[in-house]
Amino acid sequence: MKQADFPILNQTINGQRMIYLDNAATSQKPKQVIDAMTHYYQVDNANVHRGIYDLSERATAAYEASRDKVQAFIHAKYRKEIVFTRGTTESINWLASTYGVAHVTADDDIVISYMEHHSNIVPWQQLAQKTGAKLKYVNLNSDGTLDMSDLAQKITDQTKIVSIAHASNVLGVVNPIQEIANIAHQHGAIMIADGAQSAPHMVVDVQALGVDFFAFSGHKMMGPTGIGVLYGRLSLLEQMTPAQFGGEMIERVSLTGATFKPVPWRFEAGTPNIAGAIGLGAAIDYLTAYGMTQIENDERQLVAYALPKLLAISGLTVYGPQDSAYHTGVIAFNLAGIHAHDLATALDQEGIEVRAGHHCAQPLMTKLNLSATARISVYSYNTMTEIDRLISVLEQIKEYFSHEFA
């Protein structure tokens, strides 16, 4: 992928060319995406669905065209299965506070895993607290993959909801969602996949995965902030009550009650993030033109290149699978004797932007008996040269911290 498409990458930080390796937190945007939003504001901006004039028709058409793009991108059966949200967090919260409250009782349980992001934990904790249901965590194997035999035990006929990350934002593993969905369905539970870390990096086919709901964020897939998606199987969405009320989701309002528009508009209360949806559409165009399979390949190669080099640094521990064939572009690690935060500050001095901390996955950190790790996460626009520089700077930092203060 052409770095030249990404204006932000062409900058220096602390005198060094920036190497951006925090893509799991948020991705950078190609100029095509920035331009699409600028164009919207410079040419087409109006409120959607409500106007009967030309400008508003153009805005509505552009907004709804993005829905079609999302549908094609995740291979949903119907365009109405695509609901625009603020992001993964909102998508999952809506599920917990509407579908969850309607279907889960004190006798039921909800199954998640130890590798979930807080956004796929806390909404379920709240639901469990509210309903008296039990929240169960599926164990991990020693290599960080999901313990499928534990999963088969934890999912029972009492399980109403199974919600699992498609790809981990710490361990670099991809979970076998299709297999999990089968097990969930055998027990009459619905299957939710948190696609925040998968949708940006691999071909997603919600029908093949067999999921009932799929959540992801635009900003992690080259799209703008403030926009994301909740995919839902039509029959389930149609039963679901909205989480928010007002504006365009309304059909009729009397003094005492209201009826709502059909799916998906029913879920999009108030003026939506129109420019955000259009930017997401442009991001999908960009990703699709380049090819999601190509992105998968690029990142597989980057990991195949980086992982052995990282593991070769003595004192460096990688969490999750050690074999690059089973590791996504998210690599969490620690360097013995240097706290992750100090490491991140040192890398930043060399213009290398990585994350350090708990990565919004505290239950996982507790499980791994860690308080913090450093994490790099690549996107297709990263290069082998950048990996080379990362490795060499890591070596220098090791030296700096061991020699200078011996």
Partner: protein, 147 residues
């Protein structure tokens, strides 16, 4: 090379404090006068316990998990506050917090802790340096941390 900018932050003496922290031992649940603070952004935790005689700190120890900066800062702070009373500590606290914000203060009173002045050039790390002080503040004055 750019790593030498780090010298502003990770001076030899700072690293010595971080590697061999002073008054660093587990805080038992039975220890009195204790407080724990947590930096939710990065996961650093620190627990401090003090022994008081009236307004005077007669002993202090801390424990926790954190980066070199927060450990060194806690370590230096414990050295500094033993034998001081609340009013003096309040004054030190104010000075330290101001120093980390880049304000002009009389840093001499801060002893070794003034070595952390370099943190002003690393804005994301200021919270690491101030975490132990905020914890002590909560413990002694049980005020909410001003943000």
């Amino acid at each position: 090379m750019s790593l030498h900018n780090l010298d502003n932050l990770y001076r030899q003496s700072v690293m010595a404090y971080a590697k061999h922290p002073r008054h660093y031992r587990p805080v038992a649940t039975t220890d009195c006068n204790q407080a724990t603070k947590y930096n939710p952004t990065c996961g650093d935790t620190i627990t401090i316990s003090v022994e008081l005689s009236g307004d005077l700190i007669t002993d202090i120890h801390f424990y926790g998990d954190g980066c070199a900066i927060s450990k060194a800062s806690a370590s230096m702070m414990t050295d500094l506050v033993i034998g001081k009373d609340k009013a003096e500590i309040q004054q030190l606290m104010d000075n330290f917090l101001k120093m980390t914000m880049g304000e002009q203060v009389d840093t001499d009173t801060l002893g070794e802790a003034q070595l952390l002045a370099g943190v002003t050039k690393f804005p994301t790390r200021i919270k690491c340096a101030t975490l132990p002080w905020h914890t002590l503040q909560a413990l002694l004055f049980s005020k909410e941390e001003a943000k």
